[in-house]
């Protein structure tokens, strides 16, 4: 890192040499379009990693922090993984966000444990602290047990399984085995049993079309306020690219303030939980102390009001930030009262 930090070409070449074998560790049948790691793919991934590293000054940060080789290596691995996943077929990106990420997100029900820092096992959170064994069945045996004992939904035409159904399936799979299951076997069998579209099959090329607010259809950034972005679907559909604002100005902020002024406390509370905390419609309404029907009406009304704004799609993060501050500041005195 010191050499990279000093802009030494040797340092950058050494870093490139470190990246290549780490990229090749990922199974090409999942992470590449044609099932094999080509030198060009690896070169492209290495270039994107080095670009991020230099643009964000991470080489300097890692060197100057004195964080030690182990931490730097672990952070580099994370950067490599992000780049590899970004370059993976959309079907694998979808699998990652719908299955792998989803499993991890529900720590109150599911758990993972490692053996020697390399082997990962998956289980139920309730097993933590109990003497559960590690499953010794092979992948095929596990497949047969799960195939026989669980009623599997099929992802026909790549249509995603609802998030709550997916969670129940995870739970059943582990509950039936009643032992820690190797993560690779778990994911492989889940993929096969629900007929998850194979990487490169083209099912997830189209943008997601789901309207269920507890679902994730296709790859997307899990950190984005999804509910807020979905509110603008109608807005951008009704404005074809050639008619979009060419020189958007900042007048959207005052327009947004005017819109919000006409919403009462309950409606603003609902919008806060729905758009900012990204809760689903039902929870947002309840947290705002209103009925689910009220939440539904408010969402529809807000979608229509948003049509008054003159914005470009690139401004959405700014609009979200402004709306967040607007709602937060307007609700704070009432929440504290």
């Amino acid at each position: 890192m010191k050499l990279v930090h000093e802009q030494d070409q040797l340092g950058i070449a050494m870093l490139r040499d470190k990246i290549a074998p780490r990229v090749r560790r990922y199974p090409p049948e999942e992470y590449t379009f044609d099932g094999v790691w080509r030198d060009d793919d690896i070169e492209q991934i290495a270039n994107s990693i080095i670009e991020v590293l230099l643009r964000r000054g991470l080489d300097r940060a890692w060197y100057l922090s004195g964080a030690g080789d182990k931490r730097i290596s672990s952070n580099l691995n994370q950067l490599i993984f992000n780049a590899v996943l970004k370059n993976a077929p959309p079907e694998h990106q979808a699998f990652y966000s719908q299955v792998v990420d989803h499993f991890r997100r529900h720590r109150e029900r599911f758990a993972k444990k490692t053996l020697n820092n390399r082997t990962y096992y998956m289980g139920l959170a309730a097993w933590k602290g109990t003497a559960r064994g590690d499953c010794s069945k092979d992948r095929k045996e596990l497949y047969n047990i799960w195939y026989r004992q669980i009623k599997w939904p099929i992802m026909a035409d790549g249509k995603s399984i609802k998030a709550h159904v997916r969670r129940e399936l995870f739970y059943l799979m582990l509950d039936i085995i009643d032992e820690w299951v190797l993560d690779a076997d778990f994911y492989h069998n889940f993929r096969v049993l629900v007929h998850f579209p194979k990487p490169g099959s083209g099912y997830f090329d189209a943008p997601p079309s789901g309207s269920d607010d507890d679902d994730e259809s296709g790859p997307q950034n899990a950190n984005q306020p999804r509910n807020f972005y979905k509110l603008f679907k109608k807005y951008f559909q009704s404005r074809p690219a050639q008619h979009r604002i060419q020189n958007p100005d900042d007048s959207w902020s005052s327009c947004l303030e005017e819109i919000i002024k006409n919403y009462n406390t309950g409606a603003r509370g609902f919008l806060y939980y729905f758009c900012i905390e990204d809760q689903n419609q039902t929870i947002s309404a309840r947290k705002a102390g209103r009925s689910v029907g009220f939440g539904c009406e408010t969402r529809k009304r807000f979608i229509n009001d948003l049509m008054k704004l003159q914005i470009d799609i690139k401004q959405l993060p700014d609009v979200h930030k402004y709306l967040a501050a607007l709602l937060f500041n307007s609700l704070k005195p009432e929440a504290e009262a």
Binding site: S65, R71, N75, N223, E257, G269, A325, E336
Partner: protein, 277 residues
């Protein structure tokens, strides 16, 4: 060496949680002898919350994208900083981290601006993070960073106080008090009046420490809360005051007896030098 407010410094990784892979540095927000106040700086822009100040590479000669977690300012002993850096044994790093006065002052000013301005009209005046959805991985990462930082602060005090030869009772009471004053990272959440009981309530009315950089100086606690909070502090205070009196230092004992918590920590560092010093 003198650590000026606004400087970015390497932390002592021997005190950082072993299991954590996070890479952080710290921004000095105040210094007085062996006492410092620091806030964590990390390099994960996606985990930058609304109350975090984002420093882009072009804003400083450091040319790094940094996220300053301004709500997490905490007082620490000098030993929380990388010992080689403090001793001036790493001239390359020292030179790389040296910042002109105007840049340091600018960083500090903007960091406090982020902390004290939350109105919509102010959100674009200084670069800051976004509202992170509480269930997002970015929010969880920022929570993890804050928790690691808190453990680091507690560990720094624990080691430092023990190295000053204070007795176990005083150290454990003080550490308990410091631990109680660390800020856990919470979403900027609101609890609306009339919210349904079916919704699991979020942690009380914690507004993410808006307007107060540290719980150590946050006003408005109830008297019961204050009383229960003061117990470990008072135990430590009494133990150390007695020790100073026994050692024939009544003037110092009197100062310690009247000090506020933050002042109390500074005085301990002053009155009880490290055993190796």
């Amino acid at each position: 060496m003198k650590l000026n407010p606004g400087s970015i410094v390497p932390i002592n990784y021997n005190l950082w949680p072993k299991a954590s892979d996070c890479v952080v540095m710290a921004m000095v927000t105040g210094s007085e002898g062996n006492w410092l106040s620091l806030c964590p700086v990390h390099f994960e822009p996606e985990a930058a919350g609304f109350m975090d100040y984002v420093v882009t590479p072009e804003m400083t000669p450091l040319k790094m994208l940094m996220v300053v977690m301004s709500e997490q300012i905490q007082p620490v002993p000098l030993t929380a900083i990388d010992a080689n850096f403090i001793a001036g044994k790493d001239p390359a790093r020292l030179a790389a981290l040296a910042l002109p006065d105007s840049v340091r002052e600018g960083l500090l000013r903007d960091m406090y601006f982020v902390l004290s301005h939350t109105k919509p009209q102010d959100v674009f005046k200084v670069s800051r993070g976004a509202f992170l959805p509480p269930r997002s991985s970015a929010f969880k990462l920022s929570q993890k960073l804050a928790n690691d930082w808190n453990r680091f602060v507690v560990s720094a005090w624990q080691k430092d106080l023990a190295a000053r030869g204070l007795n176990d009772r005083a150290v454990s009471s003080l550490v308990a008090e410091i631990e109680r004053n660390t800020n856990s990272r919470t979403a900027l959440s609101l609890e609306m009046p009339g919210a349904s009981d079916k919704v699991t309530p979020r942690r009380s009315k914690n507004l993410g420490g808006l307007g107060s950089s540290s719980a150590m100086c946050s006003p408005g606690r109830s008297s019961d809360e204050l009383q229960s909070h003061q117990q470990p502090l008072e135990t430590a205070r009494q133990t150390l005051v007695d020790l100073l009196v026994v050692n024939g230092r009544p003037a110092e004992a009197a100062r310690l007896a009247d000090a506020t918590f933050s002042e109390f920590l500074k005085l301990i560092l002053q009155f009880f030098p490290l055993k190796s010093e």
